[in-house]
Structure formats: C-alpha cells, structure tokens
C-alpha cells in the first residue's frame, strides 16, 4: 500500500521516501483514531521499507507537530469504567501505542521527524522514535506530564535517556517546561534547525543525502548504534498505570478536560 489516506494521517512514497503526514485537528492529539491509523502504518511499514530508503514524519496542522495524547478522550473513556477495568483498558491502549512506537523505532530505513510548533508529550515521544529530529526554528518541545500527575507513557523517558544526558532529562521531566529548537539542538536532541516554515524542505534534502548510501549498510549501522530500551519501556507502562489511579492524576486530567484552552496546563 504505497499510498493511504486515513482519518487522522496519510502516507505516500515519493522518490523512495515514505512521507507520513499527521493531520487531525486541533493538533494531532493521539487518541483511538490516530492509534488505529498508526497501527495501519506500522503494519504497512514492513513492505513499504523494502523499496524506500527513508521515512519522514511531519504534520499538516499549523499549530504544530503533535500536542500529545488525546487526554480528553483518555479521561472520558476511563471515567466510564470501574477502577479495575480502567487500568486494564489503559494498559491495553499503552501496549498498542508502544507496539507502534517500537515499530517505527526499529525501522530498517533511516527515519526523520520533521517537527514544527508544539511537539509535546506523546508528540515529543513520537519524534523520539525517529533517528533524526529536524526542527523548525519555532518548534517547542515539552514533557508536561508531571503537571497532570503523570509521567510520559508512550516511551518518552527511555528514548530521551538514550539521546541526551540525564541532566537534560531531569530538567525537562521534573520542571515540565518547554524548550525551543535552539535549546533542543544545543542539548543534542535536534540535528538541524530550519528557517520558519522550511522544515519539510530540509527533511527532504536530508532524505536525498540518505539515498546515496547502501541500504543494508545503513541498516547495520543503525542497529549497531541505536538500541531499543525494551525493559525500560515496559517499566514505564507499569509506572504510568500506577500513577493513573492516583488522585493527583485524576485531578490533573479533570482540570485539563474542564478547560477550553488548547494547553491548559501552561504555564
């Protein structure tokens, strides 16, 4: 399936590059609809990457790459269940998300997250599955989960630890603050910063460079230098499920859901 149009995203193969474009209003919040489309992508990826040399993930939403998990859906669905069902339902959802994230992380081809604007929470975690993050100069990165009584649950902490020093991980996680693309680049998180509005062009230019290399060699190099922290990822799911049952998370999510603002947990 070289081209696909789903409810929340689309993909097509252009000159050997798979271009996956997120497009769900308001800012690509990851809920059940996006998860279903991402699962379709993960299933197609095995055959797509036989003919491709690179994957670029980007967003068609002007607000940004992805504002994170669809917390409103998550809260509303959990409220409809008994406590025990709530945790098992959450765990199922997280397992499915992790399978998708792991599939992208383990792709044989080189992967690029071309991000702009808000790249928060689950959106940041999606970007971290990629080999390279190329950021528009107006991009901002954040793990706001502590503000909600939670931690990142889509694999963000183990992947961030893989990429940057622990001091940076502590800064982002424990303060919940957002950082701009310049700061993210100086921390080693972002490989290139583009002019405003130009990130997809820069990502495509990088993909052209990747096309020059023997694919089997690039795959071997990637497997050698990019371990996937499966044990830590599984632990993260358990910690998240435990925190989700606590009053701090209940209060944080309720406050989020009751607000009409896009990012009510800021500043």
């Amino acid at each position: 399936m070289n081209a696909f149009q789903g409810k929340t995203l689309s993909w097509q193969v252009i000159d050997g590059t798979i271009e996956l474009v997120l497009d769900r209003a308001p800012c690509n919040e990851i809920g059940s609809a996006t998860l279903a489309d991402l699962e379709s992508f993960a299933a197609a990826l095995e055959s797509l990457q036989k003919e491709a040399h690179a994957l670029i993930i980007s967003s068609a939403r002007p607000e940004g790459f992805c504002a994170g998990a669809d917390l409103r859906e998550l809260y509303q669905r959990s409220q409809a269940l008994e406590q025990r069902e709530r945790v098992s339902g959450l765990r199922d959802f997280l397992n499915r998300i992790h399978m998708v994230m792991n599939a992208i992380d383990a792709a044989r081809i080189t992967t690029i997250a071309a991000v702009h604007g808000v790249t928060f929470g689950g959106g940041f975690e999606l970007a971290l599955t990629c080999d390279l993050i190329i950021a528009d100069k107006m991009a901002r990165f954040c793990f706001p989960e502590l503000r909600l009584g939670l931690i990142p649950g889509f694999g963000g902490i183990p992947r961030l630890q893989r990429d940057v020093g622990n001091a940076v991980v502590r800064d982002l996680l424990l303060t919940g603050r957002s950082i701009n693309a310049t700061k993210a680049q100086s921390a080693g998180l972002v490989s290139q910063v583009s002019a405003e509005g130009d990130v997809l062009r820069v990502a495509r230019s990088t993909a052209v460079q990747l096309k020059k290399f023997d694919r089997a060699t690039a795959t071997a190099a990637k497997r050698f230098i990019k371990p996937i922290p499966y044990d830590m990822l599984r632990r993260e799911i358990e910690i998240f499920c435990d925190l989700f049952t606590r009053s701090a998370a209940e209060a944080g999510l309720r406050k989020f859901v009751e607000s009409k603002d896009a990012l009510p947990y800021l500043p």
């Binding site: 800012c27 100069k137 701009n180 009510p264 800021l266 500043p267």
Partner: protein, 80 residues
C-alpha cells in the same frame, strides 16, 4: 545595559508586528492575552520569538500569573 522600559518597548514592537496589531494600541500594562486576542498556543509562539529576539531561555513557568507586558519585560530583564 538595557532597561526594563527599553525591554518593554521591544516586546510591544515585536508583539504588534507579529500579531498585526497597531503599536499605538498597546501599552505596558495591557493584558497581552486579551489585547492580542491570543490563546496558550499563540502565547508559546510569542515566547519563542522573544527568546530568539533577546537571545535568552525563559522557562514558561516563569510566566505563571504574568499577563501584562511590563511584568513580562521584568521576567526577561532578569535573564539579560
């Protein structure tokens, strides 16, 4: 060395230009959410532009309870 007044003026100029509001309509004590008609996403956009303009990093939690240009300028000034 820049003063808070000077910093405030730069913020007002930048905000007016970016959000296409007449500079004459903005004052230091205005609530920038109301006056610029912006939400949290657009406030983040403004924060990024201010960080680039002043070449600073300003944690967004420093803006807790800040809604006027003058206080915003004081927060920025403390990073210069």
């Amino acid at each position: 060395m820049s003063t808070v007044q000077n910093t405030t003026e730069q913020i007002l100029q930048l905000a007016a230009e970016h959000f296409k509001v007449s500079r004459e309509k903005l004052t230091a004590d205005d609530d920038f959410f109301q006056k610029l008609g912006i939400n949290s996403l657009q406030a983040l956009d403004l924060l990024t532009r201010l960080e680039q303009h002043f070449n600073i990093q300003l944690p967004d939690y420093e803006l807790q309870g800040v809604s006027d240009f003058r206080t915003l300028a004081e927060r920025i000034q403390s990073r210069l």
